[in-house]
């Protein structure tokens, strides 16, 4: 791998692609925003832990944002991801409490499989309807959203708190990184801590990044989103590619549900409510185009972090009301779409005049 990297950097530079350009803008905005928070708000923002907490609190969102980026690059959409999280969390919580498999790692493993199974089922069903029966993805996944929310409430109207001791013990685990920590007033070194879920989310970002960039499947997804007809003519199995993209999206939603449960071990009918919208926003802010073919999961990661940072800033400021949060998100998204279209159209104009 490292040898390949070296040769990559030796190749002649090409101008940034649209995808790379949009991602660069996103990272830049995140950096500016975070730096501003460090300067003006100080306090927690000066510690690595603050950044880690953004990851800890938003691990599930990061995962479903990745899942949305995949389908959006392929020219689709999946708005069932939040519902699948809700259903997975509830089902897993009930399973942990009631299955009778007490405390061993086996119970946890089975719960993980249950989470992935639920995601897989949604992915396969939706993917089949969208790819092979050619039904609009928006409609299919809207139905999936209703279905999953309905199922969640059916499983339990009341919140379900996980009592499984093994799971609760697992959840307490942290990845502690001393050199990123800080020294408290009493002289103790307090290491920066990452939850397991955050580590999983970061792994997923890296995995999806390489899948999209280097795997045959990933490139086919780009081709599909770039021009479906062309993709077909180029010999790509368009239907299967689209199907797999939804299956992956479903699987990741299930995984996100498990990660969510690790962060807050309780099922609730309103868990991850509307998180699909945040995931779409994060993907778009990260430079994914709704029209497909353009996008990058690194950008999506930073898109999620931008949303998370806004949330944190508002929570720590005197404006701590939910509507400020929503308005800030809305403004950010609007600004971004505007920026994207300005940048892309000015590039197009430039390309036209030079050619």
């Amino acid at each position: 791998m490292s040898m390949k990297k070296a040769s990559v950097s030796k190749r002649r530079r090409e101008p940034l692609t649209d995808s790379q350009l949009l991602m660069t803008i996103t990272i830049g905005i995140f950096a500016v925003m975070y730096a501003a928070a460090m300067i003006f708000m100080g306090g927690g923002f000066l510690r690595t832990q603050q950044f880690f907490d953004l990851l800890n609190d938003n691990a599930a969102l990061i995962i479903i944002s990745c899942s949305l980026t995949i389908v959006m690059i392929g020219g689709g959409i999946n708005i069932s991801v939040g519902g699948v999280i809700g259903l997975t969390v509830m089902a897993c919580a009930l399973f942990l409490n009631n299955s009778g498999i007490q405390n061993g790692p086996l119970g946890i493993l089975l719960t993980l499989l249950l989470a992935l199974g639920i995601g897989l089922a949604f992915g396969v069903l939706q993917g089949f309807l969208i790819s092979y029966l050619e039904i609009q993805p928006f409609i299919v996944t809207l139905a999936g959203m209703f279905l999953s929310r309905g199922l969640t409430t059916m499983l339990s109207v009341n919140p379900v708190k996980v009592t499984h001791e093994g799971f609760l013990a697992l959840v307490k685990n942290r990845l502690a990184i001393p050199w990123l920590g800080y020294t408290a007033k009493n002289g103790n070194l307090i290491p920066a801590k990452l939850e397991i879920g955050a580590v999983v989310a970061l792994l997923i970002v890296v995995l999806v990044y390489f899948m999209l960039r280097n795997a045959k499947l990933g490139r086919h997804i780009y081709a599909l989103g770039g021009n479906q007809q062309s993709a077909l003519m180029l010999g790509i199995n368009v239907k299967r590619t689209r199907f797999i993209s939804y299956v992956i999206s479903g699987l990741l939603s299930g995984l996100a549900g498990f990660v969510f449960l690790m962060h807050k071990p309780a099922g609730n009918a309103s868990v991850a409510m509307r998180s699909e919208m945040d995931a779409i926003a994060a993907s778009i802010i990260g430079g994914t185009l709704l029209t497909g073919g353009v996008g990058n999961v690194i950008g999506t990661f930073f898109g999620t972090m931008i949303l998370a940072t806004i949330q944190k800033i508002i929570a720590l400021s005197p404006l701590n009301e939910s509507w400020w949060q929503e308005m800030a998100n809305g403004a950010m998204l609007g600004l971004f779409i505007l920026l994207q279209s300005v940048v892309l159209s000015s590039r197009k104009k430039k390309a036209r005049t030079t050619s």
Partner: protein, 502 residues
Amino acid sequence: MQGDAVLTMRGICKSFPGTKALNHVDFTLRKGEIHALMGENGAGKSTLIKVLTGVYEKEEGSIHIEGIEGEAHIHSPQDAQNAGISTVYQEITLCPNLTVAENMFIGRDEEMVVHWKDYEKKAAAILNNLGIPARPRQELSSCSLAVQQMVAIARAVDMNCKVLILDEPTSSLDEKEVEMLFGLMRDLKNRGVGIVFVTHFLEQVYAVSDRITVLRNGELVGEYPVQELPQVELVAKMMGKDLNDMAQLEQLGQKSVPGEETVYEAERLSSSDSKPFNFRIRKGEVNGFTGLLGSGRSESVRAIFGADRVTGGRVKVHGKEVKIAKPHDAMKNGIGYLPEDRKRDGIIADLSVRDNIILAMQVMKGFFHPMRRSDMEKFADEYVKALSIKTASKDTPVGSLSGGNQQKVILARWLLTHPDYLILDEPTRGIDVGTKLEIQKLVLKLAEENMSVTFISSEIEEMLRTCSRLIVMRDRNIVGELTGDELTQAHVMKTIAGGVRQ
């Protein structure tokens, strides 16, 4: 199978509801030849190619391909590729968001992981070898159309194709780019590839082809070596009639005499895409804008119609100063515009023929005054008949009509509004010879009826036959205006090249 044939199709039949698209058609392609497949729209060229490439299933007949024992079975584009048949379509079928190299290799027996370095090295070698000016890591959308076309060919060639089908590859290229493409075609031919070349440009057929197969109404007319079939005869065979129609046009060629009254006048008109220019047209006059692709001829007429953002200048219609900032203003002033890009700016593919025809009139009336159904039917009937639009019914979606008939529908749309001044931007592009003639005749007839027409075409002969005044453009400026005896091909070329007067 003949000795050096790479592809033999025998007795191919294919029908669609209501029509027999192919009726026992034979086609033979030899090694290292460029074989033009000619015919008017609806003759069956596209169907034959789609059968060959596995898009359609043939009903009868056999296909033999060199190197394949017995009959070749082609049921999908993948099958065709595997059998060594590659196609480059008019619309570029590559992915604009991927790199040049990736477009050349994606979808072919790949491994699970993409080896970018290999891709780029191989792509660079092929591009180099074929002399294609593209860099492997360039995003495809940053290449010109001609280069994109060539990348598509490079892909096809690298797949070791024995048969390369080029379906209207030149229709969006300018002359220099066409020459580049021809160079590439000749090169491939010398390497033993059999090339099927489909085009509407007769000159191009004679410039590169070795052999011509003519189809008409789904039937084979014949196969001829190119030197044994003069251009006029080719046209006659394609149309299935004598050259009367051509002669008739020559007769009609006494162009209408423009009246004195100025219908439209623009002074230093400019738009976001065009430089300031002056222009006037008189009643009953047919004029043309000519120049190479990108010379600004389309941009100028778009400015007249208000299709791009108008940035300056004064406009008079019938001597009265008016403001034309958007197409609706132009329409209210009696100006109609048939756009260059039929698919993008012209037809609304999913609406019926009837709805497409009445569209402009409905817009003029305003959407709160819907037209009566009976009127709509009447107008549609009238123009379907007057322009002999070939359509199954008025309710047929216009997208399913052939290019020429779609063009007629848009013409009908404007004629229905009875404009004083009609702008036709490339009305004959991509349509068959017969319809081309019809449209030219119609232009002359409209002028006789005192309509002013601006006619733009890439084929200079067409403009020379119809226009009484030609405005020559180069690099977005008007560089000359030709009338009377100056209207010869040589003169036009000279003006385009050198600019006779400013």
